[in-house]
């Protein structure tokens, strides 16, 4: 594992890992934006009193939380082409990751909205604001603060889960590391570097979340 020539080979093909890293970051960023929108919409629906839409939101959350991401992504990749819908692995990964993480994010947002005191709603209604106005101007800014640490943890999960793209040849870091290692049979160095690269993405985020949680507790 620690033979020098293996590491030399690794660093001479560093560009493979760099491209994989870039794709992982890109997939995570796109999915993060989509996840945030999904969880915001579904979270607000769960707190509203629209009965039918709420039922739909509940189904979405329980289905996507309780089935594996792998099943969802392989479904997008293997089954949708049967229906004439063909996505590239990259797009499949983005859709699957956003839907999966969105289901978890929605519960985070819901909990954050419910944590805002009810009096805030009543006060903004009494000032003549509509439901959406009070949500946008009064509730969400307060809920955002509460939701930030758990949402950061979800982002870390999202980045980690983006490695599932390796299963559909998505060309992300995990996939490239695995295929490079498989070609050369230098498994040790390849996996250590991959681990460090993921760590460099996720560790700052989870430390950030931990510090925020500590600050909230100190208050």
């Amino acid at each position: 594992m620690f033979a020098l020539f293996k590491w030399k080979a690794l660093f001479s093909s560093w560009d493979i890992f760099a491209v994989g890293f870039a794709i992982t970051v890109l997939v995570s960023l796109i999915s993060l934006i989509a996840t945030l929108s999904i969880s915001l919409i579904v979270g607000i629906i769960r707190c509203s009193n629209l009965k039918k839409t709420k039922k739909f939101a509940n189904w979405y959350i329980s289905f996507f939380q309780n089935t594996p991401l792998v099943v969802q992504i392989i479904f997008l990749y293997n089954v949708l082409p049967h229906l004439g819908i063909v996505f590239s692995p990259f797009i499949c990964g983005c859709i699957g990751l956003s839907l999966y993480t969105g289901a978890f994010g929605a519960t985070v947002i819901e909990a954050a909205i419910l944590a805002v005191p009810k009096g805030q709603f009543e006060a903004s209604y009494s000032q003549g604001m509509s439901y959406l106005q009070s949500m946008y101007h009064i509730i969400l800014p307060q809920a955002a603060k509460i939701a930030l640490p758990p949402m950061t943890n979800q982002t870390v999960n999202l980045i980690k889960n983006s490695s599932v793209l390796a299963m559909i040849a998505g060309g992300d870091l995990m996939y490239r590391a695995d295929s490079w290692a498989g070609e050369n049979l230098f498994y040790g160095p390849s996996f250590i570097i991959t681990g460090l690269l993921y760590l460099s993405l996720c560790l700052p985020l989870s430390k950030f979340a931990q510090n925020l949680e500590k600050k909230v507790k100190a208050k």
Binding site: V79, H82, M174, Y198, L199, S206
Partner: protein, 208 residues
């Protein structure tokens, strides 16, 4: 439709489910033990042991499970299922440890002081006073972590462990029509869904 629900396919899927359950429940049992030890070690806060636990937890939690699964399979001389269980235990232990530590932190500090004033030792306080209170707060996140462990067994398909997802992909190879593919995947999703929802419902029933 007929082709999906043949005797062979169903038996094949159930063999897969059996391996999924084997991996999932071994992982859950092992990581509950190791995770609790790690969590308590990190919570206790002093000395090299707590430092090591903290480094382990922070490192493992920030690396994808898939990397552990592939890494263990290719670098350690273990049979496929054992290596899947080992890698998932390494990962899930760190998650459980963090949950345990959170639960221990949530017990009010006065409880410690009160127990000490009654002459309890550190271990006595932990066993009789703190853990029983922490367990209540730990239960829910722990259960959802176990559900995650069941879902994560599907990652093992990448190292060709014959669990549910991989069995599904093998059957999928024989299929040609779109209905067959959709029904098969719906079936697999439904099995996971039922399993996880049942576990969550069960955990809601537990009361202390």
């Amino acid at each position: 439709m007929k082709m999906v629900f043949t005797y062979e396919n169903i038996i094949f899927l159930f063999r897969g489910l059996q391996i999924t359950l084997t991996i999932a429940f071994s992982t859950i049992a092992l990581s509950f033990v190791f995770g609790s030890i790690l969590g308590i070690a990190r919570f206790s806060g002093k000395g090299i042991l707590a430092k090591l636990a903290a480094i382990y937890i922070d490192t493992v939690r920030n690396i994808p499970l898939l990397l552990f699964i592939i890494g263990f399979r290719f670098t350690l001389p273990l049979p496929p299922v054992a290596s899947a269980i080992a890698s998932m235990t390494v990962f899930t232990s760190a998650m459980v440890a963090e949950i345990v530590r959170g639960g221990l932190h949530s017990v009010a500090h006065g409880q410690w002081e009160a127990a000490y004033s009654q002459g309890f030792s550190y271990i006595g306080t932990m066993l009789h006073i703190i853990l029983p209170q922490a367990v209540k707060k730990i239960l829910k996140p722990l259960m959802s972590q176990f559900v995650t462990a069941i879902k994560d067994t599907s990652f093992c398909a990448i190292i060709a462990v014959h669990e549910l997802m991989y069995s599904g992909m093998i059957i999928m190879g024989k299929f040609v029509t779109s209905t067959q593919a959709i029904v098969l995947y719906a079936l697999i999703a439904l099995i996971y869904f039922t399993l996880n929802t049942a576990l969550l419902k069960l955990s809601n029933k537990i009361k202390f």
